[in-house]
Structure formats: C-alpha cells, structure tokens
C-alpha cells in the first residue's frame, strides 16, 4: 500500500449532555469531551495523542472504534464512515480496526484460557476451522513472545507485561490495518514498558500497521509516533511531526508540557510553568480555552478562538500568537 490517507477525522465532536432534575430531567449543559477536532493519518504512520486528564483523548479512541457515536463530524477509516456503520457493515469493519487498552489486569476475561481469548475474534468472524484457528493462535502467541505451551493457562498466571502481550496478540488476530492503543504501557513497569514498546514497533514494521496511540507520557509517544497531536479540553492545540514538536513547540501549552516533564538527568531542572488546574470541560473558558493559564495570553485570546493553521508544512497550531 502506498502513502494514502488511512484515517481521516473531520470536525469531530462529542458532547455529553448534562441533565438536572430527578423525575423530569432536562438538559442543562454539555460536557464537550471532544470539540471539533480534525486530523489525517497516512498508511503506516503513527499519530500520538497526548494530553492530560479530561482532554478528550480516550473519548477520541472510543469514537474511532465505534464505541460512541459522534455528536457531529465524521471519521473515515479506509473508506468506511464509522458513525454510519450498522449491522453487517459494522461487523466487517471490526476486522480492520482493533484496540489495546491500558489495564492488563482487566483486558482479559478471567475465566477464559488465553488461547480462547486470543482466538475469540477468529471464532466470531468464522475465520477457518477450529484446527486452523488453534494454529493461528499458537503463531500469534509466538509472535508476541509468549510460550505457546502456556496457551491453555488462565490470565491470572501471567504477569502484567505478559498479559499486555496477550492483548496485543488478540488485537492482531484478525489481521487489522489499524490499531488503536489507549495508554498501552502506562500500567507497566519501566523495564517492561520498553519491551512492549519495542514489540509494537516491530509489529508495525512487519505488518505495515497504522497506529493511533494515546498516552500522557510524552517520551513514550515521541518514541513510537511519527506525528503528535496535543489535546487540551477536547481540542487539538498543536499537530506536528514528532521530531519537530520537540524541537520547535509552538503552542504555549505544548511548551509547558515539555518543560514540566521530568527528565532523568539531574542537571536538567524542570520548570512548573503552568499555574492552576485544568478547567472543567462543562464550563470551558471563553475564546481560547487555554487563555486563563497561558503565560502569553493577549486580550484577543479571551474572545477569539483560533482555528488550526498550518505554520510550516505539516505543523499545525491553534493559537493567536501565530496568524
């Protein structure tokens, strides 16, 4: 496959209505979990979404997997408009897009053997006879570094890192083109994180996969991604190729995030540039939602909410500083 666009997200929004009243509830507001975001991911690339809690990255993952329906906007993955898929079309779509989630202890059904867990998607989609499925399961376990002789054990007999490998094996069982990874290594020890990240990189190369990886850990995201999107309160504030984001971060929030990330070097002192807390997504500030905490806030920022503009090729930022 060439460098065509694999995933296209246009003006995607997801608002959760907030109701008040016990008997006759009415909608009094909305939590703007995801607010008008757009991005493209080309085949073989990896987009990393970073941001702090409440920024909407996990909701974005759910939307891309069809687990939630957007309030507006569209998600087009390999030609399928995810929001409009139903029934058989949705079922077939599942073969293209799979997921790995954060918690290795809750991603595997505790009462099933891991061979059943890894093989379930194949059974559901009726791919092959039970013998063929068994062979495929063994191959997948070997691929992710799990001893196939342990295929008939239960999840509680494996460590966190091993369980995450099993989850990855399951995600690959249907030969998807796209993997959505929601904090895949956050719950793992540092030395295991490195193993899993290397595994993901190897698999991406081997199967020409396209990843959307979500994490709060900038270093992890930088390591795995080709492009990075920084989210704040449901919006993407900056989107750039990975290396460029770290060399020339443009948005003040991105700069603050980078400055605040602790570095394993005692000579580099971190600066807590940002004061205050993340505002509530129910009541986002007017204009640019970052303006109350922004060290470079101008009067225009309180009114004007800047759209994403391309500053250098491939590098987008939504900030009044750049117009």
């Amino acid at each position: 496959m060439t460098n065509e666009i694999s995933i296209q997200v246009n003006n995607l929004s997801k608002h959760f209505p907030v109701t008040s009243g016990v008997v006759f509830s009415r909608t009094v507001g909305a939590v703007r979990a995801v607010d008008n975001i757009s991005f493209n991911i080309r085949h073989g690339e990896t987009l990393g979404l970073v941001g702090e809690s409440g920024c909407g990255k996990s909701t974005t993952a759910n939307l891309m997997l069809g687990l939630e329906t957007p309030t507006s906007g569209e998600i087009i993955i390999q030609g399928d408009d995810v929001a409009k898929l139903k029934g058989k079309a949705l079922f077939n779509f599942r073969r293209k897009v799979q997921a790995v989630f954060q918690d290795p202890f809750r991603s595997l059904s505790p009462r099933k053997k891991i061979s059943q867990i890894v093989g379930e998607p194949l059974i559901v989609h009726k791919v092959g006879t039970s013998k063929e499925i068994r062979k495929k399961v063994i191959d997948l376990l070997e691929l992710v570094g799990i001893n196939p002789q342990r295929a008939d054990l239960y999840p509680h007999e494996f460590s966190g890192g091993q369980r995450q490998r099993i989850a990855i094996a399951r995600a690959l069982s249907l030969n998807p083109n796209v993997l959505i990874l929601d904090e895949p290594v956050s719950a793992l020890d540092v030395s295991i994180q490195a193993q899993i990240l290397n595994l993901l990189i190897d698999l991406r190369k081997k199967f020409s996969l396209t990843y959307l990886i979500i994490s709060h850990d900038l270093a992890v995201v930088e390591h795995v991604s080709t492009h990075i999107g920084v989210m704040y309160l449901g919006r993407i504030v900056e989107l750039a190729p990975a290396a460029e984001l770290y060399i020339t971060p443009l948005h003040p929030y991105t700069q603050a995030l980078l400055a605040a990330s602790p570095v394993a070097d005692p000579d580099v002192k971190l600066e807590a540039v940002l004061e205050g807390e993340v505002p509530s997504p129910m009541n986002p500030p007017s204009g640019c939602s970052f303006h109350p905490r922004c060290p470079e806030c101008k009067p225009a920022c309180q009114i004007d909410d800047k759209r994403m503009t391309e500053i250098t090729p491939g590098h987008f930022v939504a900030c009044n500083l750049y117009s």
Binding site: L65, L67, F91, R94, R95, V97, Q98, A99, F101, Q102, D103, F105, R106, S107, L108, S109, P110, R111, K112, I117, E120, P121, V124, H125, H156, A167, R170, L174
Partner: protein, 295 residues
Amino acid sequence: MSESVAIATEAQSSTKAKNRARKRVPYVGLGFISIFLIVVIFGNWISPYDYDYWDMGNITQPPVWLEDGSWEHILGTDPLGRDVLSRIIHGARYSLAIAVGCIMVYGTIGIILGLTSGFLGGKVDMVIMRICDLWMGLPPIITALMVVAAMGPSSKAIIIYIGISAWPGYTRIVRGECMSIAQNDFIRLAVVAGCSKFRIIISHIFPNIVNTLTILVTLDIGGMIILTATLSFLGLGTQPPSPDWGLMMNEGRQYITYAWWLIVFPGVAIMFAVLGFNLVGDWLRDILDPKQKLR
C-alpha cells in the same frame, strides 16, 4: 499505595480469609446436607413405612424412649396412625423439590432480567427496574392469596407464588454484578472484536457471576425451605395427605399439649436442613471470595 503493597495486602487479607475458610470446612453443615440428600434420594428404601400408611392399631403413639413407645414407630405416630419418621423422610423430598422449584423459577427470571437490564442499560434498564420497584411493593399475603384463589392451594401454587414474587431481589443483584463486570476492558474489547451482545452476556458476563449465584442459591435453599414450610403451615400450600414438613406442623398444632412429637420433629428437621445449607453457603462465600474474581 503502589501495586506491590496493594497486592501484598490483598493477598494477605484474602489469604487470611482463605486460611480460615480452608481450616473450617463446615463438616457439620456438609454432614447435614449429606444426610438430607441421602434421605431425598433413597427415601423410598430407608423409610420404614409409606407416608400415608395408617397403622390403626398404634395411633398417637409417643416416640420410642417414652412410656408406651415402641421400636416399630421410633418417632411416634399421629392420630391417623401414620409413622412420623416416615413422613419426615418423605417430606424431605417435598421440601427440596419445592425449594429447588422456586429457586429455578425466580432464579431464571431474575438472571435473565438482571443480565438484560444490567448490560443493555438505557430505557430497557429503566423499565425493568421500575417494574421491580412496583413488584417489590406488592403485599406478600395478598399476592399469595390471589395465587391460591386462582389455582387452589397446592405445592405448585407455592412454586408459582414464590417464583413470581421473589425475582426482583435476584434481578437487582444480578444487574449490579453485571454492571460492575461490564466496566472492565475485556468487555469493551469483546465489542471491538465484533461479538454480539448475546455472546457477550453468555460468554463473558455470565461465567463471571456464577460464583455469586452459587453462593446466593445455596443460602436461598434454606430460606425457601422455611418459606414453603410456612406457607404450608398456613394452609396455602401443600395439601394433606402430602407429608410436607410445614403441613405436618400445622396438623400437629392442636395436639401440642399431649402429642408434642407431632410438631417438634418436623420443626427439628427443618432446622437442621436449613442450618446445613446456611453453614455451607457461608463457607462458600469465603472460598469464592468476590475480591479474588479478577486477579
């Protein structure tokens, strides 16, 4: 606290409970249940007489250790000459059958509705829960009387009555368990893999609630035995000449001053059967500790 402390604490506290549980296997409770089940299965062979055999030569005979008692009727006879021991043995089958019948009826309704309500959520959940609320408000005596009026008093009537009144409790519990399991990522992943809702409920959620259900059912059997005995005692259930324990107690009421054995022995039988199930149910709750479910 970090993961290691959490694991150590959990392992240690559940180890504590499991240690205790392993040490105090309820031999007494298991003993009572074993006797109960042996009586149920082999009743026909071990019972000295038929339950409605009238030994007219030995009416209202006291138990063997009292004056006038004999080894032919170890626990005595009633005014119709029926052997109390035999009636208790046969009565065990009635008790168990009715208790199990009730649990099957309300258990099935409860599990199906609970799983549906818990997993599908939304309007379905709301409707089912409101029906539960209404149903739990129905006064039990009136409902019982209505069922009896419609069907006439019988064992079947008890099963129907209890079956249709007790399901809201089960539904609530199953719904709660279902909702908490559905929070887990493996359910989300099952949806992402393309599993149908039906498959998720049967294959993913149900196996994880089996532990809770086992405990509930074991504890409920005791309660059901008492409930059916009560209803029969009130005349709403099993009818004579069936040897239901509650019915026996009702029949023995009038003779309590001079033929106390007619009411005491059925009561003792109920007590031991219920105690056995309760002891084993408590033990199961420790062994199948829900805290250990997802680890």
